[in-house]
């Protein structure tokens, strides 16, 4: 994953989801994810309902299934360890082909895969319809401390720059025959990472000088996070609350 993807995450459009204020979408996202995670893993039908909610939202945002599918694939490696669970789980075992798998482990793998995927799909719908600066402003509106959102803003801004510097350093090392395969050959890489830290720090100082030069006196001007109308809230929360209701019923029953 790289910063090159940060802006590929946002898809230009003028759907109703694009128009909603960021903090409203973040609250909606949180409700959906909580609903998904709270649903007991065996209630497959409820997961289907959650999926339906997300699909409807994606359609409303004019996002193609191929786009969402592509994003899900990128997130797939991080869920891969779920496949270990059937092998190491305890309790009852079931024989599948030549393998003896734990039933609890299979359910656990299912839980991670379905919940992880649904949560990711919901996140994709939000990040595809909300540019990063708006996202950070939305977080600020949701009482995330200003220090955190300001640091996050600089991180997002300079991610590609720093990644680019590291990439160029690696290319330069490779161009001089550097192909480390063993731990003791990795020193040059670590040293270049140290150099990158120094350069990043010095850039941070230059950025601060540039900020001072334009009159900075301690508070970054807060980007106006657009206010939300009651209609916005209704529009954003209608489906997520259905998902939450389904999850609640599944838990209680």
């Amino acid at each position: 994953m790289s910063a090159g993807h940060t802006h590929a995450l946002y898809v230009h459009g003028d759907s109703r989801l694009h128009a909603l204020p960021a903090h409203v979408k973040l609250v909606a996202l949180l409700i959906v994810i909580v609903a998904v995670v709270a649903t007991p893993r065996e209630r497959v039908g409820v997961f289907a309902a959650h999926a339906a909610v997300i699909i409807v939202a994606a359609a409303g945002a004019h996002l193609s299934p191929r786009f969402i599918g592509g994003r899900l694939l990128i997130g797939a490696p991080f869920l891969a360890f779920a496949f270990l669970l059937p092998f190491v789980g305890g309790g009852d075992r079931v024989v599948v082909g030549a393998l003896s798998l734990s039933v609890g482990g299979l359910w656990g793998a299912w839980s991670v895969l379905v919940k992880g995927t649904l949560a990711l799909a919901a996140s994709v719908v939000v990040t595809a319809t909300t540019p990063v600066p708006a996202l950070l402003a939305g977080l600020g509106r949701l009482r995330v401390p200003v220090v955190i959102t300001e640091i996050a803003g600089f991180m997002v801004r300079y991610l590609e720059v720093i990644a680019g510097e590291m990439h160029r350093a690696k290319v330069a090392m490779a161009a001089r025959g550097y192909q480390p395969r063993w731990a003791w050959q990795g020193t040059a890489l670590a040293t270049s990472a140290g150099a990158l830290f120094i350069r990043s720090h010095e850039r941070g100082e230059r950025v601060y000088d540039a900020m001072l030069s334009r009159g900075y006196q301690g508070r970054l001007p807060q980007p106006d996070a657009t206010a939300a109308t009651p209609a916005d809230w209704v529009r954003a929360l209608a489906l997520p609350l259905c998902a939450a209701a389904a999850a609640a019923l599944a838990v209680i029953r």
Binding site: A3, H7, P131, V132, P133, L136, G153, F154, V156, R157, Y158, E160, V161, R203, R206, V207, D209, A210, M211, L212, S213, R214, G215, Y216, Q217, L220, P221, P223
Partner: protein, 262 residues
């Protein structure tokens, strides 16, 4: 004779590690002048620039901008009057969209709402970049980022524009676009550059800085035509470039002191 837009007197500065970089820098610039600052690497040019808006404080000497002395209590107003465009636009464009970057300066001076939006768009229009207002800076090419960096400073309505190596690493077309932008602005200009043809084209007057001092000051064509002066300061004309062939009618009359060397 109007008051100088910028006056630097006897500036001395030594870095914390002991290197003395400025050894008595003296010059002044009048409103409307366009001056190039030339000199070898390590001459102290960038250090000098950081003194012009109070980021660095000199060990001796002073800086005055349009009659206002640079001091801790005047620094905020000074930074509005002196617009510095640093060498690396990535250091200067630190917000997540172009709009936020250009708005940053005026917002710090209390400009808000519609007036702020207008300033942002005017500044971007002046540099020909109004179309990228909502894009993230790292989606722009280097030339575009340079121009946006100029806009971030123009939005504060400065009195003097200071540019540090504005044309370095730019392809010829971008260089041309930036030159057109700069000639189109009605502003006092101080440009640090190694790009001697650029200096000749945009600045009727030039100063050469070496070893922490101004060693020459006069019409750009005359300085560039003086071979001994040039080589004494590690300067060299590009192959085939003849400063006497540059057409002076495009440039306003120079107002610096007659050619002299110290």
């Amino acid at each position: 004779m109007s008051a100088p837009a910028l006056e630097v007197r006897g500036l001395e500065y030594t870095y914390p590690d002991g290197t003395q970089v400025l050894r008595g820098t003296d010059f002044h610039i009048h409103p409307g002048e366009r001056v190039a600052l030339l000199g070898p690497n390590g001459a102290g040019k960038t250090t000098l620039v950081l003194h012009l808006n109070g980021i660095l404080t000199p060990d001796a000497g002073d800086v005055t901008v349009a009659g206002l002395a640079v001091q801790p209590r005047t620094v905020k107003e000074i930074r509005r009057r002196v617009g510095i465009v640093f060498q690396d636009p990535d250091d200067q464009l630190f917000m997540t969209t172009v709009r936020q970057d250009v708005a940053f300066g005026p917002a710090n001076y209390g400009v808000t709402g519609e007036e702020l939006d207008r300033r942002v768009l005017d500044a971007l229009t002046d540099v020909g970049m109004a179309g990228v207002v909502d894009r993230p800076p790292h989606h722009l090419s280097l030339g575009e980022r340079r121009r946006v960096a100029v806009a971030t400073v123009l939005a504060m309505n400065p009195e003097i524009l200071v540019l540090d190596e504005p044309s370095s690493n730019m392809d010829p077309a971008s260089r041309r676009e930036l030159a057109d932008v700069l000639t189109g602005l009605e502003i006092t200009l101080l440009m640090i550059t190694h790009d001697l043809p650029y200096a000749l084209e945009l600045c009727p007057r030039a100063m050469i800085m070496n070893h922490g001092r101004i060693v020459a000051d006069g019409p750009t064509a005359a300085l560039l035509g003086n071979r001994e002066l040039m080589s004494a300061n590690r300067l060299e004309l590009p192959l085939g470039f003849d400063p006497s062939l540059a057409r002076p009618e495009r440039l306003p009359a120079p107002r610096g002191r007659p050619f002299s060397s110290k």
